[in-house]
Amino acid sequence: MSSDRRSAELAELKAAAAQQGSRFRRFEDLCWPKGARIAVNITVDFDAMLLRRLNNEPPMELAKGEFGGRVGVWRLLELFAAHDIKATIFTPGRICELYPEALRAAARAGHELADHMWEHRVPKEADRARDHLMKTAAALEAIGGRRPVGSRSHYPPSLLHEQGFIYNSHGARSHRPYSVLDERGQPLLLELPFHFAIDDAMFFSFAWYRSGNAGQRLADTDRVFDLWLAAFQQQYRQAGYLNICLHPFVSGRALRVAMLDRLIAAMKAQPGVWFASCEEVARHCLAAQTACVAPKAAPSP
């Protein structure tokens, strides 16, 4: 490699790192309401069989997803009610036509309905992507009575911002919520970090993201209980944040509802745990950003 090529490569890598650093900003000293030590968002990705349908998976895979709509989502709603927890239900717009009754029940119980794409994909064409986002927002508003302000999706942040969304919950550039910035360094959206390590499907859903048989996820509930409780405790020690991602067709199985019941009880046994909807956490962070905390730029590369 010539020295010119080495310099060019170095410049390219530095530009990529600088771009990364200029597109998000962490909050310094983010503190939770009423002195809480940790904020916990329980989130439900209610795609049922939609993703499997989109991937053209066979009938039994769709039936596996259908469990989420017929059985699982109801059990999760019961679990949240028993613990007096408000959750966020990330819902593909199409689910409004498949399981309207469950969504109405969720909204009545005070849970937040948020966007999870129209049919679990973001079209490449910008107009169609906007159309999907608007259709989902309208469908969720028709069912829940409120236009969603949050999303778990691959939509461009600028599009979500344009459509009045205040947060996305998809990336994990930090443990704690952070701002996603536009090209001029202005905050566009809040990101509520979601991580695959705290996602039930990663441990329990066979053929997840078309994974092959030798890499299957067949964990038992004790193992996931231990891992997730350890994640909670680590964040608890540092005034952190935990976003737990559940799929009704996965976590709605009886053995996992029982595990989650134990997990939530173990978290509640600690003082100062703030269980909130994603919207509540997002609004708290946005208020803190403008009112009480001087945001500090992420370290420049």
């Binding site: 009938p59 039994m60 769709l62 259709k135 048989n213 067949l218 038992d220 193992r223 199985r253 053995l255």
Partner: protein, 312 residues
């Protein structure tokens, strides 16, 4: 588009725990399925499978071990038998019937039928039914389409025609569905409300995914996780008063310490006097009479719409 075809196969909401009742005031049902297939992949049982050491173990030590454990624990099971296994081992199948277990069909050779033409699939169902009826002494009431270790998915493979063909062939139930953890109706025709009763299955309670999975030799051995799954699900479903189903294979659960673990688990259940342990046909008969589709299947009219730029 009619109903939610291509998306859902049953109604919008399952029965609540409080709506579930079992015979004689029993609290929970336990259904044990023993899969007699030795197929390793979607093509079903081949000569190589039948010649393997695992198959020899399955039809001898493994099966004997399971049958003895079931007898000691006074439990009944449904044996899902591929027709070719009955042809190759008729005495084994007769022995299973003689011990009070149910023999159900598991395909012609435990194969993936999803790519078969309708006529071919129909012919195989007829042949498998006749073979099993002749050897077991009665027509099978249930049909299984269980998965194999090398399948791309863990739920079992059917074609678009399978469920309708099973109704036509007079089957009372289909043995492995995933849309509920109770018996439920799989709708084959929305307009006429035609549906086949389907018993629940879940791969987390099927030993083949925990015993040298996916391939003997390089696979992963997790029988401890399987036991924890059985215990956790049984405890939860027993509390709810619903249904617990497990799927066993002689070549997997019949082996050594796995068999000991299985029997320890089953022995724990034996202490519970309020468990109902039907075979598939007994469970299907009770369910069809107590929760007939005409009354319990609540199919809402479709509000599904077609949109440009969306999947239909």
């Amino acid at each position: 588009m009619p109903w939610k075809q291509g998306y859902t196969i049953s109604d919008e909401k399952s029965l609540a725990d409080a709506e579930v009742h079992w015979p004689d005031g029993k609290r929970c049902a336990i259904h044990i399925v023993v899969d007699l297939s030795v197929a390793s992949g979607p093509e079903g049982i081949g000569a190589e499978d039948l010649a393997s050491p695992a198959a020899a173990f399955a039809v001898n030590d493994g099966l004997e071990g399971l049958l003895d454990a079931l007898a000691r624990q006074a439990l009944r099971a449904t044996f899902a038998v591929p027709a070719v296994m009955a042809e190759c081992y008729p005495d084994r199948v007769k022995d299973i019937v003689g011990r009070g277990h149910e023999v159900a069909a598991h395909g012609f050779k435990g194969e993936d039928v999803s790519a078969l033409r309708r006529e071919e699939e129909k012919a195989r169902i007829a042949l498998a039914t006749d073979v099993l009826a002749a050897i077991a002494g009665r027509r099978p009431a249930g049909w299984f389409a269980l998965p194999r270790q090398k399948d791309a998915f863990a739920g079992g493979a059917i074609s678009a025609n399978t469920m309708g063909l099973l109704l036509e062939a007079g089957y009372d139930y289909m043995g492995n569905g995933l849309a509920d953890d109770l018996p439920h109706y799989w709708v084959t025709d929305f307009a006429s409300r035609q549906a086949i009763l389907t018993l629940p299955y879940y791969y987390h309670f099927d030993d083949q995914f925990f015993c040298m999975f996916p391939t003997e030799g390089t696979g992963l051995e997790n029988p401890d996780a399987l036991l924890r799954n059985w215990r956790a699900e049984f405890d939860a479903q027993y509390r709810r008063g619903r249904f617990f189903g497990m799927t066993l294979h002689p070549q997997h659960s019949g082996w050594c310490h796995r068999l000991a673990g299985l029997e320890e688990f089953l022995g724990g259940l034996g202490r519970l006097s309020d468990l109902w342990n039907p075979t598939g046909a007994q469970c299907a008969r009770y369910w069809s009479e107590t929760y007939p589709a005409a009354k319990s299947l609540k199919l809402a009219p479709s509000i599904w719409q077609d949109y440009p730029g969306s999947l239909s």
